[in-house]
Symmetry: C2
Subunit: 239 residues, 2 copies
């Protein structure tokens, strides 16, 4: 079944390398949550699905392992990693750190193109909040944070940030945290405050407020998370 997947994969071997295609697609699936944490990934099955041999699949999984998205247990199997509750806390600590730094750096840079994009983003976000369009607002939140990182103009920072977000499967989570009543409104306000401080070139305060914002978003998220059993996986999936 699902042979269209094969076709789609073959039709866009973007850079010509099959493993790049496999990596991108598998990463997308894991982050988006198409595959639930802990699920086994058979090299053979994937090779079959993508219409390639095991080799590129193996190398793709290997890379996803170093990115922290899957765990390869030798001679046993490859599984989507299940972040423990502790790891989630750690990841958020890093998120707070990096985004805070990004706000500071952006403030120091002065008026750069990203600032304009952020302003536009916030205008749209205001409208989305106004009409209670939670889905659109979630997108804009993600974009806001991405713009902030991009505006920091530090490729290493961006790389580490991407890796963190992938491990957090963040896109899956934003919606959840916004389900808290009033969270969207507060989040939007916090974004505005951060931008103000950046425009005022007050790097210290921008960093501080941004950190607080991340902490708030974490609290909102953990509050709306189903208290999964002792092990601390995300949840028992929806299906």
């Amino acid at each position: 079944m699902e042979e269209h997947s094969v076709n789609r994969a073959k039709s866009e071997p973007k850079n010509g390398s099959m493993q790049a295609t496999v990596i991108a697609e598998m990463r997308r699936r894991i982050i988006k949550g198409d595959i639930e944490p802990g699920a086994p990934l058979s090299e053979l099955a994937l090779a079959d699905e993508f219409g390639v041999s095991r080799t590129p699949v193996r190398e793709a999984l290997k890379q996803l392992q170093t990115e922290g998205l899957v765990e390869i247990r030798p001679r046993v199997g490859t599984f989507v990693t299940i972040p423990s509750r502790r790891e989630i806390t750690e990841l958020f600590e890093m998120k707070e750190l990096i985004e805070g730094a990004a706000a500071r750096l952006l403030a120091q840079r002065g008026r750069v193109p990203e600032i304009d994009l952020i302003e536009r983003n916030l205008r749209e976000a205001d409208e989305a909040v106004e009409r209670d369009d939670r889905e659109r607002y979630a997108e804009l939140v993600q974009e806001f944070h991405d713009l902030l990182i991009a505006g920091a103009d530090n490729s290493k920072l961006e790389a580490h940030y991407r890796m963190l977000m992938n491990q957090l499967a963040y896109s899956r989570l934003v919606n959840t945290s916004l389900s808290q009543p009033g969270r969207a409104t507060q989040s939007d306000r916090e974004h505005h405050l951060v931008l103000e401080l950046i425009l005022a070139k007050d790097g210290d305060s921008a960093e501080q407020v941004m950190r607080e914002h991340v902490r708030a978003s974490r609290r909102a998220l953990l509050a709306s998370l189903p208290i999964s059993g002792g092990q601390g996986k995300f949840g028992t999936a929806s299906s």
Copy 2:
């Protein structure tokens, strides 16, 4: 030629996996500077040297690529990455960020075992500075920073830190920066100050001072770096 390398590799397949051995060994060589930046790494040659086939070598290089230590140009070859001057700056920005955060976290944790180790480390460092033992002091500096990170008790932070340090080939550089006259003394003083603030549980100040310390060490390093041509590689190696 060099069959002893083969033997050594075979004699310690620590976790049983060959690629793990290759990864560790190649990482060591790159960081230590045995291979100069920009040098080509032939899969075949390495496979031959380690006495394995290309497969595990390929997977090892793939991982080193995601760690940022080598660059794989498709159909062309694999090369030790040459960090640009800009990248070095970015890496130091990240180092400042992460070590600052570690100091803050450690201050918040109160008296943990790592604190004792740091105190012991500083006592030894004082002695090393006293007798002008630059080599020993360099080791202790590295240990100080490692202890700080360990004391933060955040595995993600530690993982990202390790990755940064590998890319910076830091161990190669510490000695260089300490060649600045008076740098060792000042560095030691800064370490003491950071510890004081940590003991006083003043996370904010500890972070701030730690950041300043990293900036100072960066300045000392860049000042003593040979101004390598326009491209910004580390230098033309020593040998």
